[in-house]
Structures are given as C-alpha cells and as structure tokens.
C-alpha cells in the first residue's frame, strides 16, 4: 500500500546523507552538515560530543520519536534529593498545567498509572493507548516477576481524532480567534491509520511535528511570517544594551539580512542558541550576549543510552498478524528503583526508562541477517525456513537515562574554525561521570534479566563495563543545557521563563535552559516551558515591561 524499503536506494538503509534511513523526514541534517563543521577539544571517542542538527523548517520535530514523558516532582529538584547537579527554580506544580495544555494541543496517547515520579495527566487529557503487541505483552507478564512495571508509553500520535469542539476553548480561554483557528487546524488532523513509520513524517497529521501541527494554525492567524533558510549570525543590540533584532545569512544566496523585533526568542536548539549568543559580541558584551555569568555554553547534557537485543524462542512461528501499530513502541518501563537508589544501594544517582523493540515489522536490511549462530550457517531452503522462524522472535531494549550536568561537559567558540559563511563554530568538551557509566552497565544487567525472564537468550553478551556500554555523547540527540535557568543572575543565564538576566528582551525557549536532563525525553518539557514563558512574555508586554 505505502512505499516499501525495496523502493528506496539501498533498501532505505542509513547513509551519511540520510543517517536515519532514506525515508527519514529530516533533510539537510545529521551529525555532519556539509560546510558547517564543529570541533571536539579531545580526540578520544569517549570525550567527543556528536552534534545533531536539522537544517529545515520544523527542526528536530521532523525527526523525534514522539515519546512524550513528563518530568516528575523529583526531576525539578534533583539537588535537594541527592545533593548532585542543580535544582530548577520551578517545581512540577508550576509546569503541570502546561503539560496538560501541550498534551491536549499536540495529542498524546498513554495512560495514568499513579507511579512514583511518573506523573498522571489531568482527567480527559490523554488519548487512549493502542493495544500492546504480542512481545510487549509477554515482556509485561515476565518483567513483573522482576519488579519492572511495563505500562503504556506516552507518544504524540492521535489514536483518535481530537475534540475540536471543546479543546480550543480550554487552551485559549477568552480568545475567540485563537479558538477558531485552532479548531480548524484540529479538524485537519486524522487519527493514526496504524501503518508506516512516524519518522517519515505524517501526511494525515496524526502525529505531532511542528510543520503539520504548529505552523498551519500559526500561519492562519495572520501573525506569523516564516523566513526559511535564514541562518542567524548574531543578535543585534542598541546603545542601551537592548536587543533590536538579528542579522542572518541567507543560506541559498549567502547575502546578509536583518530582522527587527521588540523581543528576540531563541529556539535554535540548545547548542546553536549558545553559538548565537557567543557570536553576539560587542563592546558592551565582550564575552558574548547574556553571558555576564560566564555560564553560556556550560552544563550541556545528553541522555545516557545503551541497548541490548535478545532472541525469544516463544515468539518464533507465531500466527501471522499485523504488528505495525503506531510506528514506535506501545509500552515502556518507567524508572522503578527510586527508593533503592535514594537509599544508596545502586552506585549511581539517577534513573532510566526502558524502550522496547518487538514484533514483525517491515523487512529491511536486518531481516535474515546475522543468524548464523542460531542456524549453524544455513543457506538454501533451510535458510528460508530459518528466516521465517526467527522473524519476529528478536526483541531489543534501549535504556534512556539521566545525565548529571558536570564542569567537563560544555561548548565554546572554536578559536580558529569557521563555517562556510565565516561564522565561528562550536568546540565541544565532553565527559561522562561514573553516575552515567554505572547506569549504562545497570541497564545491560536489567535487559539481560528481562530477556532471560522471557525465556530467551541475549544476542551477544551484556556489556559489564559501563564505559563501553554507553553510547557517545550526543548520539541520543537529547541535547539540553548550555543556557541554564536559575534563581540568581550570577550562576545562571536565564530566569525561570527563559528570559536572559542580562538582556531582558532576549528569551531562550529550546532545551538550553534545562538545568537537569531527567530520563524523560525532553521535547514535551521544552514545549510546556515555552508555553509558560510565552504567557509571561505576553503579560510583560501588556504591562509595558518589554
């Protein structure tokens, strides 16, 4: 029905032009962008940060996994809980109403389970989760014996149509025009048709990405102009130290242009926003804009990642049925050892959640590959039987864990290297602490235990050395920090609304203001904080403060 891997070059497998496969919705993006280098202060792989960029309208929302987990109460006050890292200047209660609003706006499926530090949404906010796949149900039954809760994951995919009749009034009370525009946009979205990868982008607008869900109503409001292919060089500042707009280079013509504004909001991705601030040097701001604290570029974080696969004989030769579902996983395991960890029993300070890969999915280059230890190297008719037998019997588990900000992980301007437009580029410094590497080793043990509890065997060997198990920094693409928020100007870049302390009409509303990076994937929190900041910004404008 829909395009298959066989219709794409190289069976749609990843290349340097399309690092997530041919059909991935990201174009002009990846860990490398031609003509736009970045550098690493160290040549050691474990000290290197991989910087993903998406040079297109909608940015990383074209690419993300749509996993939408809320930070919990502990996640906003980690230092108070274990003495490490920093507390946010806000608490869960400050953000909770905005989580509700974002979930209603973009459409998130999931369930409320009442688990520790895994917040429930308000009644009526979430859409129903899809049924669990066979392997997910088996994992749920078996992992229970290990104390792991397998529950519906939260993802930004419509499992049913949004209620365009009631949601807009809840999201934009007293604003009839916004309600009308949003209701119209919601009516343009269909529910998931349970086929094709979300990563391809969604022509029926069932999943959330900025280009299909945010931008159409914003354009319909008449209040938005989009200037594509504009790479911002710097923020311009007047004699009083107030921002007046930005200077950009048109990436197609190479010509510079200027956009003026009463307020400048940066949401360029954390590190790109850092780069813009550091490149906005003037006599008044010799260290770069909003950097009197010296904290711009400091405390960058990614997510701890590790994975392990297993072979589950019980899943062999199951009766054929369609397991496509909503593209990604339908379940996950939230962090479940808060009490043991708090009691100091684990040897690392922060938690992780587990993501699943199961089922017979659309065949690709991995289908039938790497089976020789199971098949004894079969070929011919026996091989064809073996491939049918083992297809769908492999499971994979991926851990996504919290990294604690540290002094050795930061970015700065490279003193020599420039991009093709002559704009200085970033140089990254990176280091995992033992909290992260031990967590990665713990993930491996856990995955092996789950695979064995499912009656299976690990493919390969669980990696007991956390430093080897952990994925490189930046590989999980949960880049946050670098312009952290705080309660005081001397130790942070922005206040709780992402407003920079030094230049009050400059806001940062990407992941830069994150002061911790809970295991919960950051996009939902970025959006909730951006909405909260926008309410504040509007109020400040109304009051004449901006």
């Amino acid at each position: 029905m829909f395009q298959t891997t066989g219709q794409a070059p190289l069976r749609a497998s990843p290349t340097e032009d399309k690092p997530f496969g041919f059909y991935d919705a990201t174009v002009d993006g990846g860990w490398q962008v031609p003509g736009e280098p970045y550098s690493s202060a160290s040549s050691a792989p474990e000290r290197t940060f991989w910087w993903w960029r998406a040079r297109m309208l909608g940015g990383r929302t074209n690419h993300w996994g749509r996993i939408s987990l809320r930070n919990g109460p502990y996640d906003f006050k980690p230092r108070s809980r274990d003495g490490l890292g920093f507390d946010w200047p806000i608490s869960y209660e400050d953000v909770a109403p905005y989580y509700d609003k974002v979930e209603m706006l973009i459409g998130v499926y999931g369930s409320n389970e009442g688990l520790e530090n895994t917040p429930d949404s308000s009644p009526g906010v979430l859409q129903p989760p899809p049924a669990m796949r066979a392997g997910e149900q088996l994992a749920k039954q078996r992992a229970k014996k290990l104390g792991l809760p397998v529950i519906p994951i939260h993802r930004a995919v419509l499992s049913e149509r949004q209620d365009a009749g009631t949601i807009p009034a809840k999201l934009h009370p007293n604003n009839p025009k916004a309600q009308r525009v949003l209701a119209e946009a919601m009516r343009q979205r269909a529910a998931c048709f349970w086929a094709t990868d979300c990563g391809r982008g969604c022509s029926i607008k069932a999943n959330y990405q900025s280009t299909t869900v945010h931008l159409p109503p914003a354009l319909a409001s008449g209040n938005l102009d989009v200037l594509p292919d504009a790479m911002v060089r710097e923020i311009n500042v007047d004699a009083q130290g107030k921002a007046t707009g930005v200077t950009y280079v048109d990436r197609l013509t190479g010509q510079d242009g200027v956009v003026k504004g009463r307020v400048v909001v940066l949401a360029a991705s954390s590190a790109e926003s850092v780069r813009i601030l550091l490149n906005s040097k003037s006599a008044r701001f010799p260290q770069g804009l909003a950097n009197r604290s010296g904290k711009v570029g400091k405390y960058i974080m990614d997510t701890v990642g590790a994975r392990l696969g297993g072979h589950i004989p019980l899943l062999e030769n199951l009766p054929l049925h369609n397991e496509d579902g909503a593209g990604g996983a339908h379940v996950y395991v939230p962090w479940w050892l808060y009490q043991e960890q708090h009691a100091g029993k684990l040897g690392f300070a922060r938690g992780y959640h587990i993501e699943f890969g199961t089922g017979r999915r659309m065949p690709g280059m991995g289908t039938g590959a790497g089976l020789d230890d199971l098949t004894g190297g079969s070929y011919g008719r026996k091989f064809k039987e073996d491939v049918r037998r083992y297809n769908g019997s492999m499971v994979s588990f991926a851990g996504r864990g919290e990294m604690i900000p540290n002094d050795d992980s930061f970015c700065e301007l490279d003193p020599n290297l420039k991009d093709k437009w002559g704009i200085p580029v970033l140089r990254f410094h990176w280091k995992w602490s033992e909290h992260e590497t031990r967590q990665a080793a713990h993930m491996q043990q856990t995955f092996a235990a789950v695979i064995e509890a499912m009656g299976g065997t690990v493919r390969g060997k669980p990696e007991t050395d956390g430093a080897k198990a952990i994925e490189p920094g930046g590989k999980i693409i949960h880049e946050v920090g670098g312009t952290i928020m705080g309660a005081e100007a001397k130790s942070s870049v922005t206040n709780q609304w992402g407003q920079t302390w030094d230049v009050k009409n400059v806001f940062i509303n990407d992941g830069g203001p994150f002061v911790s990076n809970a295991d919960k994937n950051p996009t939902l929190t970025i959006m909730a904080l951006a909405w909260r900041a926008s309410d504040y910004l509007l109020e400040e404008m109304r009051k004449g403060n901006l």
């Binding site: 340097e16 690092p19 041919f22 490398q32 349970w194 017979r360 590959a369 790497g370 190297g377 990254f428």
Partner: protein
C-alpha cells in the same frame, strides 16, 4: 536510533578519524576487516559516483543504476546471481533471489559511494573471484556452471565462519556478508515480504493487537 555514518568533524587526526569510522561501520555490521590480498586498484569507484544528497526525492521509486553507476561485469553478474540462488532458492513460499532483482540490488549496494560500502565492494568482488577460482580448482568450471551438489560442496565449507577451516576463513566471511545482503535484498521485495509473511503496511481504522490464538500460544490467556 541507528548508527551514524561518520564522526563529527574535528581537529582530530586522521588515525583517530579512521578509527571512528571503522567503529561506526563495524557496529552497523558492514565491515569485516577482510581482504583477500587483491590487486591494488581493484574495486575503485568511478569518479562520477555521487550519493543522492541530503534532500533526495522521496516519492520516486528507485532502481539499481538510477543513482550511481553499477560495478559488476557480465561475468561477475552470472556468478553473483548463482550464489544468490544457492542462498535463496525458489520454494513453495517464494521465488529465488535472482528472479526478483537481488543480484542488481547487490550491485547497487557495492557501488554506493558511501562509507562502509567500499569495504563490502572489495569483499564481494574478491569473494566472487575466489568462488569461480575454487570452482575451477575443484570441478574445472565456473561456479554458475556447477551442478547443485558441486555448489553445495563449496558452500558447505564456507557457510559458517565459526566452523570454517583456516584456509576457508576469509571466504566464509565473504559468504556471511553475501548471505546478509541477499536476505536483505530479497525480503524487501514484494515477493520476499509475502514469503516471510509480512502482513503490515496497510491502513486500518483500528489497531486490535494480537489475535487470541497468538496470546494462547504465548500462554497469556
């Protein structure tokens, strides 16, 4: 997330950069570090081979040869097709691999101007040459002209790296990679998807989850 193809640009030296690349390629399973001691220059890509770029047309249906020149000579293609069909012959569930374009797909794969593919290119060109050489040595014919029993005699010696005798280790690494590519190429065709029993990729109004007989087989009901 899948494996990135290249390390970040940096001031790191070439040695480190190559190490990064090999690590990335190895984890993607595309580089076995094998050479058969081929003549220098064999398997160099044509200079006009370029990739599809960072913003390719996603709506088009592509065929091998559409994007970059293919590599195999007529003779190599015959050997390649014969090996494809030894690995995936026709049976009651589906056709043989060469009948659905897998030979051409392997040619596309080894001709691709991307990191990792160059190692496969070398491995496979040298492996195909070895296969014909071995067939000549044992039976006085090229591989494609052997009868099934003769083909099997050779393939049995190289089909499993863990059991291959030292003299056949390199050929076994070639065979392993070739089997993976043949399988990937075959099961991604409509016929291959039918063969393996893939019933997804169709729109539906609801997602019901597994049917009762599946849950029963798993002991979940």
């Amino acid at each position: 997330m899948s494996t990135p193809q290249r390390p970040p640009h940096s001031s790191m030296d070439r040695r480190v950069a190559i190490k990064w690349m090999l690590t990335a390629a190895a984890s993607a399973g595309v580089f076995d570090g094998v050479t058969f001691g081929a003549e220098k220059g064999q398997g160099a890509l044509p200079k006009n081979a370029v990739g599809y770029g960072t913003d390719p047309d996603l709506l088009k249906n592509y065929k091998p040869g559409d994007l970059w020149p293919l590599t195999l000579t007529a003779g190599q293609r015959v050997t390649a097709a014969a090996l494809c069909d030894v690995i995936i012959p026709a049976d009651e569930k589906g056709p043989n691999a060469s009948a659905v374009g897998v030979t051409e797909f392997i040619d596309e794969w080894i001709s691709a101007p991307y990191p990792g593919h160059d190692a496969d290119r070398r491995l496979i060109l040298e492996g195909l040459a070895w296969l014909d050489g071995e067939a000549q040595k044992r039976f006085g014919q090229d591989f494609s002209n052997l009868i099934v029993r003769q083909k099997t005699a050779i393939c049995d010696d190289i089909c499993y790296v863990a059991n291959a005798k030292p003299d056949f280790k390199k050929a076994a690494l070639f065979f392993r990679r070739y089997r993976d590519l043949t399988a990937g190429g075959y099961y991604t065709t409509p016929e291959g998807m039918k063969d393996i029993g893939f019933v997804g990729n169709v729109p539906s109004a609801t997602f019901a989850g597994p049917p009762p007989e599946v849950l029963k087989q798993l002991g979940l009901v």
